[in-house]
Amino acid sequence: MVHAFLLHGTAMLLDVYSGAVHVVDQMVVDIVQLFEQCTKQEILSQLQEKYTSDALEEGYEEVAILKQQGLLFAQDSYEAIATQFDQPTVVKALCLHIAHDCNLRCKYCFAETGSFHGSRSMMQLDVGKAAIDFVIEKSGNRKNIEIDFFGGEPLMNFEVVKQIVHYAKQQGEQAGKHFRFTITTNGMLLNADNSAFINEHMVNVVLSLDGDKQVNDAMRPRIDGSGTYDRIVPMFRQLAKERAHQGYFVRGTFTSQNLEFAKDVLHLADLGFEQISVEPVVAPDDKHYALKEAHLPILFLEYEKLAQAFVERSQAGQGFHFFHFALDLSGGPCAQKRLKGCGSGYEYLAVTPEGDLYPCHQFVGNTQLKMGDVFEKTIDASISKSFRERNVYTQTTCKDCWAKFYCSGGCPANAHQLNGDMDKPYEVGCALMKKRIECALWIKAMLG
């Protein structure tokens, strides 16, 4: 399978099953589109009015050489890998819901402004310790274990965060495990003390900020309705500076209320942030802020504009890192990882303040998918199996999609929320993902 696309006047080919990427001229695109169905003479004949015969001969030979080298029209040999289950299931990452409460009232919040469709509550230390014991026991031979402190707003329960970190490090040392901690915060409660702790212990920090003051404050107000931008931006800048701009993301959400989101990404870069992730909101059509199919043309143009600005700033020595444009073409994830995606429901689980286990943070509150709890150290085998067996070949729309090795079939929670079926991907999300991948590949071509 070969995906051809044109971006800012540059024609490119992605050979899906080898992973090879090529910059080509339009003639090669035309040849490639006929190559598998037609003979050489038929191709030359069909294209002779557009190109000279010498050029067509050259182009055809170059395509043929790359096919011979396995860099074009490579065969799909991954389905067997996707269905290999010879390794034991291990849990290697937990999302700890430290606080099911929040000090903001973000209008697009999937967690019902922190309560996750239940009562507002805080995780107690005994639950956190049990979660650490649980993941050590369930992680098998896996050395690296990730713990994300999530909410609601985890800084509302930061003393427990600190104690869990210390406990995990102590227990991990005895068990031969390496814990990596991350935290997601809205920044309202950041101060010198907790920033220092975060910078010392967390390998990654996600700082929520949507864009300029108007955009951010419209969607991310405090409980009293007032804005948050003026409070959090100085704190985020200080935190990023103190960790030498490493291991963090300023993370925003765009919605139908700010379709022209490229300017918001650039605003975050202008504030001095070097690690930026701004993502589309995921919401059903009846929400006023939802992104719909009709919005796609303008969003595609926004990604193209952003990619252009990204290249220009990089070339001018003012580059920044944009999460969705960061493809590692030579040392990225292995095919096994790409086939199965996020690992929710078996490698990655969410823990509620009460210690209940769910397939991921976005399923919390959906009691049909409660998988057990950290005290009994149980995991529902049938739910786990349904997630584990999910891969890009079990989803019919993914199997024939050129982008499947970059999104790994998309987010099962999004699919479940929008389509009522984990194996039926969320279409608007797919379209945006594909556009981002094309932009990322184009950036590689431009920056080398």
Partner: protein, 45 residues
Amino acid sequence: MKHIKTISTACLKDSAAHGGCGECQTSCQSACKTSCTVGNQKCEK
């Protein structure tokens, strides 16, 4: 080649031969939390 410039070779096939150790970061823990973005994850090897 005059008409084709290859900017990345067959990394996916190569990775299948040596991959699957599972020590890598869980994709959703990195920055997104609302999308499955795997292509930009790093390999731990």
